[in-house]
């Protein structure tokens, strides 16, 4: 790394930082686009269909339909970029970026593997090093911003279906955020820290000391609320294509639509990473006290991708909720449950002292 740094006339720290940013964000981006394929193949599998299998690389290799991704990308790039006549042009352009950037940025604080020491320097495998003071408040803050992308895409299209979708989505996201915060506060309390590395350390390497076992109620609430946060079925009220055409992205086409779709999948990746970090020990490898760095990264990836698959799985298994059922679930079930979880753990901690 020193050699590379001197070649580029910078310091190793900067090379490491830039490398981390590029690798982490690029891999989340790539995983998000691969997940559009997983979604289509997975849905086909669940519904006993075949799914995309026609597109072939150079007209020869279908690679399980993966080349469909490239075909889709090329198609989206070359489609005509339509903007509705009565749309607010500036915001219509801005909205996909406002949806995409927060979805990706939330990942910055999550450690993808164990920190390691090389030549006396500690390298952390998260874009924001631990001890930045924001800790897990950061993904919560960034997650709260994701709603602006949906809201603006909806409003700027100047279309009734879009606005309906945007309003429903923003109401959902704001209501479910409270449940998420309460569940996360219970974790802060029991682990005694709010930095992801502290939370991971507090969970240890034994699966029955992970928070999913110690706080099953919190996990249930957090995971359910994440579906609402990422606008995934059974809570995808931003789209609801059987009710309001395509919801907030009705007027979007070509690359702007593609960005909105990628934002959804990036958000899904960030949400899965959060679930893995908070409740499943992050990079901890089960029964291995001090895993090698690569093994810890692999362990984290396996957990994260498993939850990303659960998101797909649930989408094609459960039907969509009705809107009033959703609000009922959010305010009258999820919020009291997460409060009960919080109070219970506070009580247990007070007994322990």
């Amino acid at each position: 790394m020193d050699k590379l740094a001197s070649l580029l006339h910078t310091t190793p720290a900067i090379v490491w930082m830039v490398g981390k940013v590029v690798v982490v964000f690029l891999s989340v981006f790539l995983l998000a686009s691969v997940w559009t394929w997983v979604e289509r193949r997975g849905s086909a599998m669940i519904q006993d269909r075949i799914g995309p299998n026609r597109a072939k690389l150079f007209g020869r290799w279908p690679i399980l339909g993966l080349s469909q991704l490239l075909a889709d990308g090329i198609k989206f790039f070359f489609k005509e970029d339509l903007v509705p006549e009565a749309a607010n042009k500036g915001l219509f352009w801005l909205a996909p970026f406002l949806a995409f950037v927060p979805a990706l940025m939330g990942f910055a604080v999550i450690p993808v593997g164990k920190s390691f020491v090389c030549d006396g320097v500690t390298y952390h495998l998260s874009v924001l090093d631990p001890g930045n003071g924001m800790g897990l408040l950061y993904p919560l803050a960034i997650g709260g911003l994701a709603v602006y992308g949906v809201l603006l895409a909806a409003w700027s299209s100047n279309n009734k279906w879009s606005i309906l979708g945007g309003m429903r989505a923003s109401a959902t996201m704001v209501s479910y955020e409270i449940g998420i915060s309460m569940a996360v506060v219970a974790i802060f309390m029991t682990s005694g820290g709010y930095d992801p590395s502290e939370v991971i350390k507090a969970q240890g390497h034994l699966p029955w000391t992970w928070y999913v076992v110690r706080q099953p109620l919190g996990f249930l609430v957090f995971f359910t609320c994440m579906f609402a946060e990422t606008n995934r079925l059974p809570f995808d009220f931003a789209e609801g294509e059987s009710e309001i055409v395509a919801g907030f992205n009705t007027e979007y086409g070509s690359m702007k639509f593609s960005l909105l779709a990628l934002a959804e999948y990036s958000h899904l990746m960030t949400a899965s990473a959060l679930v893995a970090t908070l409740y499943f020990g992050g990079w901890q490898v089960p029964f291995v006290a001090d895993p090698p760095v690569l093994l810890s990264v692999a362990s984290f990836l396996v957990k994260m991708l498993f939850f990303a698959w659960v998101f797909v799985w649930v989408r094609w298994t459960l039907p969509r909720f009705r809107y009033d059922q959703l609000m009922h679930l959010g305010w009258k079930i999820m919020l009291p449950l997460s409060m009960a979880n919080l109070v219970f753990h506070a009580w247990r901690m007070s007994q322990g002292h």
Binding site: L91, G135, L140, A141, Y148
Partner: protein, 164 residues
């Protein structure tokens, strides 16, 4: 860095005042909140920055925009009559207030203590520190704020749901 965040804050505030479109004005306000969060970060208080974004940008502004969209009033209403006198009085009042606030800060004991060289810089704020200060030193204020919010909540429910 300070200049950048200060500019974001001020331009956002200006945009909010000058924009005729209410939604765009709301977005300018979000930009202002971001600028303020950045300033908090520079003041070694990442907790306040995160809370600023969670509470103001993430919740309050979303609700404000939500209500604006629901009422479907996208353009600012024009004033029925021009009120030049009130306008200048308000400008003068705000200027006096700003001048007084800045003067108060510049002559405060805290700032003078910071000017003394060799003074140890306070460490970055953490959530743990916020919690202990809140529950040890400012317990009464915290409880009063809690009761006030509870009263506001009960009042809001009572106002919207007349027949419970």
């Amino acid at each position: 860095m300070f200049i950048t965040f200060a500019f974001v804050t001020l331009l956002g505030a200006l945009g909010m005042l000058l924009q005729k479109n209410v939604i765009v004005a709301g977005l300018c306000m979000v930009a202002t909140f971001f600028g303020v969060a950045g300033l908090f970060l520079l003041l070694a208080n990442p907790v306040a920055a995160a809370l600023q974004i969670i509470v103001y940008s993430g919740a309050i502004m979303v609700l404000v925009l939500f209500v604006i969209m629901m009422l479907n009033s996208h353009e600012e209403e024009a004033a029925q009559t021009a009120r030049p006198v009130q306008r200048w009085v308000s400008v003068a009042l705000v200027a006096a207030l700003a001048f007084g606030a800045v003067k108060l800060v510049l002559t405060s004991a805290g700032l003078r203590a910071m000017a003394v060289s060799g003074e140890p810089m306070p460490g970055a704020m953490t959530l743990q520190k916020v919690g202990t200060t809140l529950f040890a030193e400012h317990l009464l204020g915290f409880e009063v704020a809690g009761i006030l919010l509870l009263a506001a909540m009960v009042g809001a429910v009572a106002l919207t749901k007349r027949d419970l």
